[in-house]
Amino acid sequence: MSAAYKPNEIMTIAAARALRNEDVCFVGIGMPSAASNVARLTHAPGITLIYESGTVATKPTVLPLSIGDGELCDTALTTVSVPEMFRYWLQGGRITVGFLGGAQIDKYANLNTTVVGPYDKPKVRLPGGGGAPEIANSCGEIFIIMAQGKRGFVGKLDFVTSLGHGEGGKHREKLGVKTKGPTRLVTDLCIFEPDPETKEMTVVSIHPGVTREQIQDNTGWQVRYANKVAETAPPTAQELDVLRELHARTARAHGEAAQKE
């Protein structure tokens, strides 16, 4: 049953599948939120979702527009202050998976959400790091979701907002960071995982119908592939239903623009 689906949908669903029932997940707004909630509503009903606004073990019925929507608090086990969230829960090492995205990513999955162009004379001033710099290093591992394109997938970041695998190899360990960093990068075209040695993000699975040429055309560095590259299983009808119903509920709750994400 491979219903027709959009690139955004397979991206969200492929990310959702990587989440486990026992994960404690630090969720960002947008696609990470959609992916985490799809996981919760399909194969991982026991997953714990935490948003940086302080909501612990929240079970929203619609996707929040902001990281601190009342819906998150209403459906949470409890809500803690933001200093406590960052000290006891994130820095305390209690989060197994953090989700990140960004305006720019490089081949070691370092991310830029700060600025395009020079910091002091920006071409585009982006919102900034928010929780990302510490999410990147305090969570057990990091999943990244980003639509692929040459503007975002760049040879060199204008600014490193959050550490991925740095310059590759054992760079994280050399910096004293004990967590795994980005273990999975899901795009609208394919799935990358870090090479075990070099830590360069390497394509391990290509979404149905996508070509290697397409992938390279949308990437600002020479793309590497794993020895065995799989084809991403297309979204199942159930996965698509859950995702679309979630977006539909969200749109009804928030008004039309909510599913732009």
Binding site: L65, S66, G131, G176
Partner: protein, 286 residues
């Protein structure tokens, strides 16, 4: 001991030209009405601190209230850019805006340290990011036991903290509930504080033994402004008006449309409009 004042009096007594001001609220309980009053009173040369400067700081920056911004995430949540903030940083309009940029963890720790009376916050942070290259305030200490290098930032000690809360009681104590953000810390870290509330009640009544309450003697001024967080929300009073966050993207994109909106909706208005906004929201929901 807190005093109950009109919003105009409260802003006048708490927020002064040249102050370092924290107007906090983490999506929930953002003090929009107080921000509008600061704009109406024409405050200048403020250093604005906030983890998530959003619409109200965009408005204050666009109206020229701020010389400096200390922040960790400056966007319109769920929507996109803050155009007035970008215009100030990218083009210096209406004038140059200095920025001091942090991560959320750093900002939250800096408030915590401020509330705790410490000169600096110590945490595990900033490893492998470029932020310390552009922010000389980010330093480090070495753990005397493990040798680990830990990040430090100066504690936030604002001249004034401005927050919106659910209610005050007759003694001037203030209750918050729901998403608490860093508001308690901001008030405790500040020299002066202003809390706008939805209502004043005789007594908070039955509540958790561990409710988040700011005692009267930690607050300088209280102003009763029903709807004062709109278009943000107040748990149990009204929900977030998401449509306006999206609308703001269009209003704020150009300087002219921004100024026209501010003139009509802020400069020419009083705090009463917030109660009207919330009434309209309720009617729409029925």
């Amino acid at each position: 001991m807190s005093r109950v004042l009109s919003l105009a009096e409260a802003v006048e007594s708490v927020v002064r030209d040249g102050d370092t001001v924290s107007m906090e609220g983490f999506t929930h309980l953002i003090p929009h009405a107080a921000g509008h009053e600061v704009i109406r009173q024409g405050r200048k040369h403020l250093t604005l601190i906030r983890m998530t400067p959003d619409l109200i700081y965009d408005q204050m920056i666009g109206m020229g209230c701020a010389d400096r911004l200390v922040f960790s995430w400056g966007g319109n949540p769920g929507v996109g850019s803050l155009h007035r903030l970008r215009d100030a940083i990218e083009n210096g309009w209406p004038h140059k805006l200095e920025i001091e940029e942090h991560s959320h963890a750093a900002m939250a720790n800096a408030y915590e340290a401020g509330a705790a009376g410490l000169p600096c916050a110590v945490f595990r942070g900033y490893i492998g990011t470029d932020l310390p290259k552009v922010n000389p305030k980010i330093k480090s200490i070495t753990c005397p036991y493990t040798g680990e290098k830990l990040a430090t930032v100066p504690a936030h000690r604002p001249d004034a903290a401005v927050i919106h809360a659910l209610k005050a009681d007759r003694e001037g104590n203030v209750l918050l509930e729901g998403i608490l953000g860093v508001q308690k810390e901001a008030v405790l870290a500040a020299k002066r504080s202003l809390v706008t509330v939805e209502e004043v009640v005789d007594d908070f009544g039955p509540r958790s033994l561990n409710a988040c309450i700011l005692p009267s003697w930690t607050v300088s001024a209280i102003a009763v402004v029903p709807g004062g967080a709109f278009p943000s929300y107040a748990q149990g009073y009204y929900t977030r008006f998401n449509a306006f966050y999206k609308e703001w993207d269009g209003i704020s994109r150009e300087r002219d449309s921004f100024l026209a909106w501010m003139k009509e909706n802020v400069l020419g208005k009083t705090p009463d409009v917030f109660a009207a906004h919330v009434r309209a929201l309720r009617i729409a929901a029925e």
